[in-house]
Amino acid sequence: MFKFFYCSKSITAPIVIMIAALFVVGCSKKIAPVGGSTGLSNEGRSSVPSQTPTDRTTSNKQSPQKDSGDIQASNEGMTDEKLAKRIPIEDRTLDENGRSQGESSRKQGSENQSPRHDSQRRHDDASGSQTLKNRGSAFSNGGPVFIDNVYFDYDQALVRNDAKEALEENSRWLALNSDIRIQIEGHGDERGTNDYNLALGERRARSIMRYMINLGIDKSRFSFISYGEERSVCGEQKESCYQKNRRVHFFVKK
């Protein structure tokens, strides 16, 4: 424990002066010990989980989550890329598509598992590309394609015209896949303050949800969350990157 006391034994200064110092400084009550004054006492240091920042793990946001006890938190560490592996949505759509569209598309879907057709990707998103390819492959002869991201103008939560087309497509897809639930995630670019971008991200998510409800998808199939600027997919300070981050991402739940 960090402590101090007035010179009493080893210091030869006169007692009178020490008392004077005590009086002037008045520290016995007014100034708490180093640890106590900020709650970072030695006890605090040992009981609060601590790690020196020099103990650096090399990776960044894309590093895999190891804390299996906290499932929800693990989901947040997931990148779009992992989504494709975790949720075999391409298989699901294949089956349903196969039933509705016949044997040929089922066959085509399975053949396409490694060479993907890129033609139906409406939106380029580095981290979501694999998911998009998988989904696109199942419908290469005309069925609806699920689109992972729609994008927004700077500081805006209005649904853009290019997004409307995507949302209509997604609505058709959701109509065909009635057991799928969607988490709508609102994101912003790094400009603007963190708090305000959280609010903006939520407005974007709500605005997309309203639009899709108006297209006839039941409200119960949606949940939404805002990540503000906290989960960007592109880290450079340029407009092309900002645009990738100003998005609503659809997180597909079972």
């Binding site: 960090f2 402590k3 101090f4 006391f5 007035y6 010179c7 210091i11 200064a13 002066i17 020490m18 004077a20 110092a21 002037v24 400084v25 520290c27 007014k30 100034i31 010990p33 180093v34 004054s37 900020t38 709650g39 970072l40 006890e43 605090g44 240091r45 009981s47 609060v48 989980p49 601590s50 790690q51 020196t52 920042p53 650096r56 793990t57 960044n60 946001k61 590093s63 804390d67 906290d70 929800q72 938190a73 693990s74 989901n75 947040e76 400009r191 603007g192 303050t193 963190n194 708090d195 305000y196 959280l198 609010a199 939520e202 709500r206 969350i225 805002s226 990540y227 906290e230 300070q237």
Partner: protein, 433 residues
Amino acid sequence: MLKLVSLILLLIVSIGNTSVYSAEVFLEMKRKGFRKIPLMILPFQEGSGKNEAASIAENVLRADLERSLVFELIETSDIGFIPTSEGAPDAQALAKASKAGVQGLVWAKLIVNEKEWVLESYAYETSNREEVISIRISGKKRLIRNMAHRFSDILTLHFTGEKGIAQTKIAYISDLSGNKEIYVMDYDGANKMRVTRDHSIVLSPRWSPSGKKLVYTSYRSGNPNIYVLDMKTGKKKMIASFSGLNYSPAWSPVEDRIAFATTKDGNSEIYSIKSNGSDLKRLSFNKSDDLSPTWSPTGNKIAFTSDRGGKPQIYIMDADGANVNRLTFGGDYNTSPVWSPKGEWIAYACRNKERRLKVCADRADGTQSIVVTESGPWDDEAPSWGQNGRELIFTSNRFGKSQIFSIHLDGSHLRRLTTSNPSNNISPAWSPR
């Protein structure tokens, strides 16, 4: 109306030129014949031979006193003063220093024991040649910097009558581990320590008035909820987990209440709640988003961000939500207000004509508005006040990644506090004393 126009003009002028009002702000420190107090630090001695720790302590103290801006450090060489090997100055030495205009002599001796280190700390008033401080500050070896900070605060209190801030801490968010977690460091950036392990996203830490607890938002359960962490016991409690965002908390300086924003009503509104999660009260009622509350030091008022006028601006209301008044009129993006500890200023992030965020500060009565940080192609945001009311810390990406800086309210004395590239260090919150 005239007042409104002049306010707008004032802001336009001040955004255009950051230095216009700097001198005026600085006068605050200089009023009542303020003059820096001349001190001289004699070389710290280490009991048994040379030790780097003694000079570390000396350098930490030197940096503290310089940063406080109330002391002027006179070097021994400046006045031809030759310190004796004894260390402690004699009457002759004090007389010489006094003659040279030095008001106080500061000296310390480090004693290294097996169990603990002791910093025997002394100060002398040269005018009456009196030893005015003689204190033993002891602690473990790793606390040597903190021991020097403590000595600095004792000196500040003695010579100025005002409590120092050298022992304060800064809580902040770093993505060093790959996730955004809370860290705490000393006010000079030393002794960084990780506090949370949520493996998720943690945002906007704020201190309790005692400095013993933190309140913050974490996504650890999936939804962004608000938690209170007791730094001593390590216990945390979720106090707000409404559907939607629960964010931007701020602890009342006078009572056990936390103001925060939540979107549970369909848009962002400001509420307050006790720190144990009971007694929820709604404070704002508006279709637009209200967020980022900050309390006045008396606890009577709350400033916050609202886009009820179309664009985010700073508003002030009574702590019960009544009497809402708009504070900022310049620019179209003013967010993240923080009320100064003495009450006269509200600092916030403002967006300038180049569409860059800067740190601004307005007098709480609306009579003056200044831009604190210099213009340039980068963003400065998330200001937080030091308890002396003269210094701010904030986040800036002027050198690439976001890092934490401190700056004097008049725009001087910019100091970088975090350097740990490649991580981003953001959302600093300066602790109470």
